[in-house]
């Protein structure tokens, strides 16, 4: 409908070791107009009893999204930019298949509304040429939105990786994770 200003040069980079668990992203996510005061990003302690380590998870926008594949209602749509959108409200039947199948633990089921919602990379902002809310406010820049050149310049010893291995399953994503130089894949054992 509206003319899109989505900039394909821009990419999303995550480095959860920089995360300080402040929840600014979570508060800001709720301000994104596509989700009406619901927050789509996840921040949680990994194991608070032993560490203050937190992790932050946005939708990784998989190239072949498991969530869309398991959706019985064809409610999850991937657009031409590779953005995997939140469930189509008219189709979603609230079955939670996507919630349980996503290897990154991203989609959220709004129980009362019988609706799955997930991060759509702040489509209202990114399609208007702005940065997503979470990456804009993130005070530790564990979430960064910019060009590949910018991040390579800023973090010379790290490299963006967008391939993951969960057991036997390789998953490639639009969103990158920052890893030590020389890494090509994050293996989750």
């Amino acid at each position: 409908m509206s003319e899109t200003k989505y900039n394909q040069e821009m990419a999303f980079f995550v480095d959860m070791q920089r995360c300080i668990g402040c929840h600014a992203c979570e508060m800001a996510c709720a301000e994104c107009e596509t989700n009406g005061q619901e927050s789509m990003i996840h921040v949680n302690y990994v194991d608070r009893a032993v560490s203050t380590q937190t992790t932050v998870q946005v939708c990784m926008h998989c190239e072949d999204p498991t969530c869309a594949n398991v959706c019985p209602a064809d409610a999850i749509h991937q657009d031409d930019f590779g953005v995997v959108h939140s469930a189509d409200t008219s189709r979603c039947i609230g079955c939670s298949n996507c919630v349980l199948a996503c290897p990154f633990g991203v989609p959220k089921k709004m129980e009362e509304a019988e609706l799955m919602m997930k991060c759509n990379m702040c489509y209202d902002r990114t399609s208007a040429g702005k940065k997503p809310m979470c990456a804009t406010v993130c005070p530790s820049q564990a979430l960064y939105y910019g060009t590949k050149e910018e991040i390579e310049k800023m973090r010379p010893d790290s490299v963006p990786v967008n391939s993951f291995l969960f057991g036997k399953q390789e998953v490639n994503t639009k969103v990158n994770i920052m890893m030590p130089k020389g890494t090509h894949q994050l293996i989750i054992e």
Partner: protein, 351 residues
């Protein structure tokens, strides 16, 4: 969804044909061999048969998808079990609450529910009126000697009657007018949302979001046009009004299986999903090995493993466990821990 139509699906095609012929048979039977069929509605009938064919075809294709198929199978299995009575009652309750009244939408937004409810109620009532008329299942007759009493014939049997000019007559003959008003108000509410809500503006498309609303309003307004014509203009523009209305309605019918309106038929699956969760919980919950908390039904996790396998995903691990055994929070933590280890091994968390 269009990719589904790239190649013809034989099973679906046959089912769709059966459904179409079933409709024709019902028309023949219900109209007493076309005795009560209104020939003026023939074009509508053709449109309806096409719509039935399309819907049946798409529905059948849809049910063949691994996840849908499994859901369907399980829903039937769980419904027709020894728990039939409580589950049937539960499903009926939810049918009224969430399908007819669409209460779940109110939890997304109140105005949205009001808009949708008006539209949906208008549409469903209109279907309930027009389909029997088109199929010749219902017609109105005058009896010789009394040209003031209308008799309502259903499947050719006489049912109730009412006086011309009575309140009952006014309400009955204007049934579609009331539907049109409901739909128009509802669609206007939904349009206003689409014009003012920043999130919707960013994500909406013309074909999926605006066209359905425009079509509904067009049907309603042209339908009201016919009423306006015979009430105030003495039928002078009847021909024009009727043709225009027929064109939009048939467009709507033809588009029904393809576009957004297909969700009307998909929505019922919500009842299945609910049943699936209820019976699953009865059978036992899955506990996340990381958070040590229940997070889903074990049936669901087991079924999803089957479904993903059919879809070509394999999240099983070397040690025999499966990434899908983890809750969403567990998965996020697993990722963070793996990332932490790689960073730690490299000797540098930063740079």
């Amino acid at each position: 969804m269009y990719r589904l139509f790239k190649t013809l699906n034989r099973v679906a095609f046959i089912k769709a044909l059966i459904a179409s012929f079933a409709v024709i048979a019902l028309v023949l039977v219900g109209s007493r061999n076309l005795q009560n069929f209104d020939a003026a509605l023939f074009a509508y009938l053709v449109g309806t048969i096409f719509a039935v064919f399309g819907i049946a075809y798409r529905y059948s294709v849809w049910l063949q998808r691994p996840s849908t198929k499994l859901y369907w199978k399980r829903s039937m299995q769980f419904l027709f079990s020894k728990m039939f009575i409580p589950y049937m009652l539960r499903s009926l309750k939810l049918f009224f609450k969430n399908i007819l009244a669409q209460r779940f939408i109110a939890h997304r937004s109140r105005t949205r529910w009001i808009g949708h409810f008006l539209m949906a109620t208008g549409c469903l009532l209109a279907f309930a009126i027009t389909i029997p008329l088109t199929f010749g299942w219902i017609n109105f007759e005058l009896k010789p000697g009394d040209d003031l009493t209308y008799y309502t014939m259903v499947f050719g049997f006489e049912t109730f009657s009412f006086k011309l000019g009575s309140m009952m007559a006014f309400v009955t003959f204007h049934g579609l007018v009331w539907c049109s008003i409901l739909v128009t108000i509802g669609a206007a509410i939904m349009m206003k949302r689409r014009l003012t809500n920043g999130g919707l503006i960013a994500t909406q498309t013309f074909a999926d979001d605006w066209l359905p609303l425009i079509l509904l309003i067009a049907i309603s307004l042209t339908g009201l046009g016919i009423s306006y014509d015979y009430t105030f203009l003495g039928g002078r523009t009847y021909q024009f009004m009727a043709v225009i209305h027929a064109i939009v309605v048939i467009l709507f019918l033809v588009w029904l299986p393809f576009g957004k309106f297909f969700h009307i038929f998909q929505r019922v699956a919500q009842l299945g999903a609910n049943l699936y969760k209820t019976e699953g919980a009865r059978r036992g919950m899955a506990v996340c090995p990381h958070t040590k908390e229940e997070f889903a039904t074990q049936t669901h996790i087991d079924d999803l493993k089957l479904v993903t396998e059919k879809l070509g995903f394999d999240y099983s691990k070397q040690d025999g466990s499966n990434h899908m055994n983890l809750s969403p929070e567990g998965k996020r933590s697993a990722l963070a821990k793996a990332h932490f280890e790689v960073r730690k091994k490299s000797g540098k968390f930063f740079g």
